[in-house]
Amino acid sequence: MSGVPALRAARAYPWVLPALGVVGFVLAYPIVKVVQYSFTDRTTFLDGSFVGLDNYSELLRDEIFWRAFENNLILLLSVPLSIVIALAITGILYRGVRGSRLYELLIFIPFLPAVASIAVVFLYLLASDGPVNEMLRGVGADSLAHPWLTDERTAIWAVLGVVLWKRVGFTVLLFMARMASLDRTLFDAAAVDGARWTRTYWQVAVPQLRSIIQFAAVIGFIEAFSWTFAYIVILTRGGPDRSTFTLEYFLYRLQFDEQLVGLASAVAVVLLVAAVAVAAYRIWLARRETFA
């Protein structure tokens, strides 16, 4: 590499600037603007004026904001639940039962379709006269049949069920990919005996999966705090009686139904802080792993 620094930069920029330009326009500039908007009473087409922390204090006093936050936390339960279920399934698959490739493929199915597609299918499955209730009645569990998505007590839990259904297969896939790089001979002796296998798996293999488990937790966290929008907008539209609002859905409604840009931006900043915190945690984990 030769030449004066300025010249080298001038030669490199044509390669990197187009990508930087698009990302700057779509992500970086809007991030700056959203922080700025959050301190104003701006509406969609009126600039508004500086109001300091008013939007934030209004949020903190808003019952819906807290309910949305709580619902995000409930959906966050999908992270530990999917990890535990996936670990159990991975343990059995890795031991190598007959037909495990087919099982793996079937378990992976939920990951592929879009959240929107899946959500519409579950609207049908969970309807009061839909297949889930029909099957419950079929096995004599009539009392369990229930309008899952339209009853305030069960709606957010039903959404959690759908999120979980979509997550587990992907998590199994992650864990299986990591298991493939472990030393198989560690387990061969134990594989002969079921009880010993279970012990060996949880005591020897699972600790070695630590970094991939952390990875699964991080992306699960990101999802529960940023990608629940499509689930909510289709499954419940925040209802019944606004009981299933999440922060993303709240933001969307503030912006596109009420045109309250300032307030919507304050919600965006809350999500931004969560995203940055997770990213920082991820970097910290990676550093510790490298230098340990």
Partner: protein, 282 residues
């Protein structure tokens, strides 16, 4: 302990393992199975639930959603959005990945870190200003807004994938070409691109899938009927919205939205799975 008892216990444990796997596989496959079953039912025969395939399957629901409910147009819009966004993201990311691997310049680390770090930013965080700037530019309800926004959101991950790949290419190849007097452009076209073909394909397919599956960007930036994508169509068609209560029809629509993914998955399973694992669930 006798061998026989040992064997019996082992058989029982294996049975338990199978039972768990069968349950997991059934639970995973059942919703899409029920979707398919309902989609082939005649709407007039459908009474809220269809657990078993009908003996008289019909394609009527498919032709109805396709023709009368505008799924043909939505399908085209989804193809346009996902292909254009994936193409732009892949091309720009290939250039950037090459620039970051083959040049050392002031600000390189910060720019690369910042670009890849944007992977952590969910679209919902930027949607408000993005909508405002797009409407200021008069681009809302124009093809450009959705495509550029979608490409921008996919770019950090595309750069991450391609940079990791190109950075591992043997540097001697480039040095030899340099000695032979090949320009940086020729090295890019004749060495970097051909050698990165698998990574380029993965990047393109994954960006296309994410864009195909995305709801938020087209919902906000493509609000006209002419630009409705499949996901937006499904979101607005669902029961309660416009009041479409015809489940077989809806399920045919959902099946159409999943079909291209199933085909892409069957064609390029291995590379795809590896890329998805690296990219995380979105």
């Amino acid at each position: 302990m006798s061998r026989g008892r040992h064997g019996a216990r082992r058989a029982l444990a294996a049975l338990g393992d199978h039972a768990i796997l069968v349950a997991a596989a059934l639970l995973s496959a059942l919703p899409l199975y029920l979707m398919l079953v309902a989609s082939f039912q005649r709407s007039s025969d459908f009474d809220g639930v269809a657990l078993l395939p009908t003996l008289e399957p019909t394609f009527d629901n498919y032709s109805t959603v396709w023709g009368e409910f505008g799924f043909d147009r939505m399908f085209v819009n989804s193809v346009v959005l996902s292909m254009s966004a994936a193409l732009i993201a892949t091309v720009l990311a290939a250039g950037a990945a090459y620039g970051f691997t083959r040049f050392r310049f002031a600000g390189r680390g910060v720019l690369l870190g910042g670009l890849i770090g944007m992977m952590a930013i969910p679209a919902i965080v930027v949607i408000v200003p993005l909508f405002i700037v797009m409407s200021d530019l008069g681009l809302v309800n124009q093809h450009a807004s959705g495509i550029v926004a979608e490409a921008g959101i996919q770019l950090p991950f595309a750069v991450f994938l391609l940079y990791s790949y190109m950075n591992d290419l043997p540097v001697e190849l480039f040095e030899a070409a340099e000695v032979d007097g090949a320009s940086r452009w020729r090295q890019f076209v004749e060495i970097a691109l051909p050698l990165s073909r698998p990574a380029l394909a993965t990047t393109f397919v994954i960006s296309a899938i994410y864009a195909w599956n995305d709801l938020l960007i087209p919902l906000v930036l493509w609000q006209t009927e002419q630009l409705t994508t499949l996901m937006v169509g499904l979101a607005t068609l669902g029961p309660g919205r416009t009041g479409v209560r015809d489940i077989p029809l809806l399920m045919a629509g959902v099946t159409i939205s999943i079909l291209p993914l199933a085909i892409a998955f069957l064609l390029g399973r291995r590379g795809l799975v590896r890329g998805l694992v690296e990219g995380g669930d979105r």
